[in-house]
């Protein structure tokens, strides 16, 4: 079956199995049996917001589609706020995620004979904060994604477990870039953007730039473009173009060889983008096994034109057997690059830019906030 039919079936299943989602549909007068007949009807599909999965809201068990016996594990976001999202997944959900990450990898991961990454070993990441809740394992979502990535046997993992979490092995990074300097090797670098960037910025002051060459690649992931990820805070937002330009210059890697993967815990697929000099941004390809809607801030109606900016809604036909993740609105802003194809590589499918997290605070004042106004 095609995406639409699979999505419809998934949504109907979610409607039947998850009372919380059914409630959201009912409040909006939407019934997937009668209101989701044609592909255009997808525009009206109600979404769950990512924040309802937050631990503090205490609703994540209500967002399951199965009873606990059917859940393999809880996957947890690497929360910056200290209030992570908790998403229950089945074995099949993890397998679907694996398939999608691997498919994404096939398209975007180029040959690499050497590799170093600003991520820890998947097992270390999964072990970090690992626990048990309601008889099920509680693991980092990112750790589960890393577990899927096909690293080389000799990949250097620059993030090492330490007393306070993880620390960067800067010496190994220096050794790695020196070893491949001017060798034109198929050398890959990647991992967490804020750590990668912070390290490069500090080394720029201390050592001369290197020339890793046209075969070298940089593949980042896991977000952190606002300068924060988990308990890492580099104190400033990272502009994507600035990251690419700075790192490209310092490591001597062409800007076109930079890719980034966008994912979030409440979703069941990853989305990878390649950097475009022309756009001075990453162009993310919406994979054919998923759909993205960009919704207008004011009307919440779907936007369709290139250059339109709005909130990102993801639609999952697969991989949400365990949780109500068929239709999720994330508090990130996206911009449509092209609704039908990539203007750079001409690949079919919607392409978007990820502008960043929606930010804001209420002005503190004489109107009280009873939970505290810190």
């Amino acid at each position: 079956m095609g995406f639409f039919e699979d999505f419809k079936n998934n949504l109907i299943g979610q409607y039947e199995e998850c009372e919380a989602y059914r409630l959201v549909c009912q409040q909006q007068g939407f019934n997937p049996y009668t209101d989701l007949k044609y592909e255009d009807d997808i525009d009206y599909v109600p979404f769950l917001v990512t924040t309802v999965f937050k631990r503090s809201n205490g609703l994540f068990t209500k967002l399951l589609r199965k009873n606990l016996d059917g859940i393999l594990k809880w996957t947890v976001s690497s929360s910056t706020s200290g209030d992570p999202s908790i998403v229950g997944r089945t074995e099949n959900d993890i397998q679907v995620l694996r398939n999608f990450v691997e498919e994404d990898d096939k398209v975007f991961r180029k040959r690499h004979d050497y590799e170093c990454t600003f991520f820890p070993l998947a097992e270390d990441m999964k072990a970090f904060g690992r626990g048990e809740f309601l008889g099920k394992a509680l693991e980092s979502y990112l750790g589960n994604i890393l577990d899927i990535f096909t690293y080389r046997d000799d990949t250097i993992f620059l993030l090492k477990p330490s007393q306070n979490g993880f620390s960067v092995d800067v010496d190994s990074f220096i050794r790695y870039i020196m070893e491949h300097d001017k060798k034109d090797h198929y050398a890959a670098l990647g991992g967490s953007t804020p750590l990668f960037y912070k390290t490069v910025l500090s080394l720029k002051e201390k050592i001369k730039p290197v020339e890793l060459g046209e075969k070298a690649i940089v593949h980042t992931g896991g977000g952190g473009w606002d300068g924060r990820k988990g308990n890492i805070n580099i104190g400033t937002m990272i502009e994507r173009w600035r990251f690419v330009e700075d790192v490209s210059k310092f490591l001597g890697i062409p800007e076109e060889n930079f890719t980034d993967t966008y994912s979030f815990t409440e979703n069941s697929f990853t989305m990878t983008g390649h950097y475009s000099k022309e756009y001075r941004d990453y162009i993310f390809h919406v994979p054919k096994w998923a759909k993205v809607i960009i919704r207008d801030f004011k009307t919440l109606k779907p936007l369709k034109r290139s250059g339109d900016r709005g909130l990102i809604q993801v639609l999952n036909a697969y991989g949400t057997e365990g949780f109500a993740g068929a239709s999720i609105l994330v508090d990130d802003i996206g911009e449509i690059v092209d609704y039908n194809r990539c203007p750079i590589c001409n690949t079919e499918g919607m392409t978007i830019k990820i502008i960043g997290r929606v930010k804001g605070t209420e002005a503190k004042g004489c109107g009280a906030t009873l939970g505290g106004d810190n």
């Binding site: 009372e19 919380a20 409630l23 959201v24 409040q27 909006q28 769950l48 917001v49 924040t51 309802v52 809201n57 609703l59 209500k62 801030f297 004011k298 009307t299 919440l300 709005g310 909130l311 609105l329 508090d331 802003i333 929606v358 930010k359 804001g360 605070t361 209420e362 002005a363 503190k364 004042g365 004489c366 109107g367 009280a368 906030t369 009873l370 939970g371 505290g372 106004d373 810190n374």
Partner: protein, 473 residues
């Protein structure tokens, strides 16, 4: 855009809701010099007739009420405070009308009984009475609702004080614009008013200021209130506190659901519920049809959204509203304790809830987000207030006739009761957070003559003295 402020050492860049501002900031030395300059003007300012200040305020209000004059300011404010221009015009209208001559005169009469008491000694039974300004007043203003600035500044000027106003980084524009319009009318305003900005985290600057002023009027949140209160206590400086506060409505009776819901919606829309006088909860009698009221209220909010739309200049407002709405929908929906009536977008959210909101839920009630809670007896409301809102109470919009209830809620701290629909229209001379600002910003001085009063103080002293002799003390 640059906002120079009255004095500054340089500019600090801020991006507020996507709008780039350069705000003139001051260091401690510059601020202390400015306070010294104002201090030196105390006598000159004291000698200004109240009538002159009334005239200046009246002219200033009329300027702002002229849309040709205010339109540029409204455009800028709309970007900074993320409110639509239509709504800001309405808020300016309400705010500036308070400064019109007839309203200021009413205010003086209600607060001080005789407006001349600020200018001269007034005869009284014991001799004469007069009100003197405190001296230099530091106004620490918040950025949530610009109404606080004309209120604070006008009270400071009317009370013949010299005023230094620190603006909020959330909204640094209006105070300086208002100052400029006063200066356009009368250059000598500079002798008694100064607008400054510095980073709020600079507790050392606050301390330097408090040590050198005679009174502090504070508008803001709990942490900043506590901080300023402690400083004022430390240096024995008179502290006038406004906020943080919570307001609510109580509906005992409804003649016309359409009319009452429209009044309630007006209170909700003004200031996007960021003001202390904005309602966050509506308590409605169980004898009334709460569901019908909620539907009417949603309808009224929908209608008023066309007249006074939301701004949506910052997507945060949308995201926050839909996140809060969905959480509340699931919380109450899954426990069968409530229902939601809302727009398809983030325009408005009415939560009909059988349970009264938690403190965290009350914190969600901004930007046209309201809880409507049926009550079975007034004791439920009293108990809820006692457990959740004591110390934060301000305005109660009330539709009913229960005098006993009014007595109880005012005993608990509600400081003003208005008709529903008038919560943002505090009439001239009504109390403000339980006090009269002009009284607080001045102190009373008496001149006692030897008068022929049948039970005067000398008689009291004689009686007391005789009693002590009799008791053998």
């Amino acid at each position: 855009m640059k906002i120079p402020m009255t004095v500054s050492n340089g500019y600090v860049r801020r991006n507020i809701n996507g709008f780039d501002l350069e705000i003139g900031f001051s260091d401690e030395n510059l601020i202390l010099n400015e306070i010294e300059r104002l201090k030196n003007n105390k006598i000159k300012v004291h000698d200004i007739e109240t009538e002159k200040t009334i005239e200046i305020l009246d002219k200033c209000a009329r300027k702002w009420l002229d849309r040709e004059y205010s339109k540029e300011h409204v455009k800028v404010l709309s970007k900074i405070i993320n409110q639509s221009e239509e709504l800001i015009y309405k808020e300016i209208e309400i705010t500036m009308q308070m400064l019109l001559k007839e309203n200021v005169k009413r205010l003086l009469k209600e607060e001080l009984e005789d407006e001349e008491v600020l200018d001269r000694w007034i005869d009284t039974y014991y001799g004469k009475v007069h009100r003197q300004p405190r001296g230099v007043v530091f106004h620490n203003v918040s950025g949530n609702a610009f109404v606080v600035i004309p209120v604070s500044v006008s009270m400071g000027l009317l009370s013949k004080n010299c005023n230094i106003v620190k603006v909020s980084a959330y909204e640094p524009y209006f105070a300086y614009a208002f100052y400029n319009s006063l200066v356009e009318i009368d250059e000598s305003i500079k002798d008694r008013l100064s607008i400054i900005y510095f980073d709020s985290s600079r507790s050392d600057i606050y301390e330097g200021i408090v040590k050198n002023v005679n009174a502090v009027i504070h508008w803001g949140g709990e942490n900043s209130r506590n901080f300023m209160a402690n400083l004022c206590a430390k240096y024995n400086v008179h502290f006038i506190e406004h906020g943080p506060k919570v307001s609510f409505q109580v509906i005992d009776e409804i003649d016309d659901y359409d009319e009452i819901s429209e009044y309630a919606a007006r209170d909700i829309i003004l200031w996007e519920q960021r003001a202390c006088l904005s309602p966050r909860i509506i308590f409605i009698s169980k004898d009334l049809d709460a569901q019908k009221f909620c539907k009417y209220l949603a309808n009224s909010l929908e209608k008023l959204s066309k007249e006074y739309p939301k701004s949506y200049s910052n997507p945060w407002d949308t995201v926050k509203t839909i996140q809060d709405r969905q959480y509340v929908l699931l919380k109450h929906g899954l426990s069968k304790t409530g229902e939601i009536y809302s727009s398809n977008n983030a325009d408005y959210t009415v939560v009909e809830s059988k349970v009264f909101p938690t403190k965290y839920d009350v914190d969600r009630c901004f930007s046209r987000f309201i809880y409507v809670c049926p009550y079975f007896s007034k004791d439920e409301i009293i108990s809820y207030i006692d457990q959740n809102l004591i110390g934060y109470l301000q305005t109660m919009g009330y539709n009913g006739k229960d005098e006993e209830f009014i007595e109880k809620v005012t005993l608990m701290g509600v400081s003003i009761i208005t008709q529903i629909g008038d919560m943002s229209l505090h009439y001239p001379g009504t109390s403000h957070d339980g006090l009269f600002n002009l009284q607080e910003l001045t102190f009373v001085v008496s001149r006692q003559d030897r008068v022929n009063y049948k039970f005067n103080i000398r008689d009291l002293l004689t009686i007391w003295f005789k009693r002590r002799i009799k008791d053998g003390n």
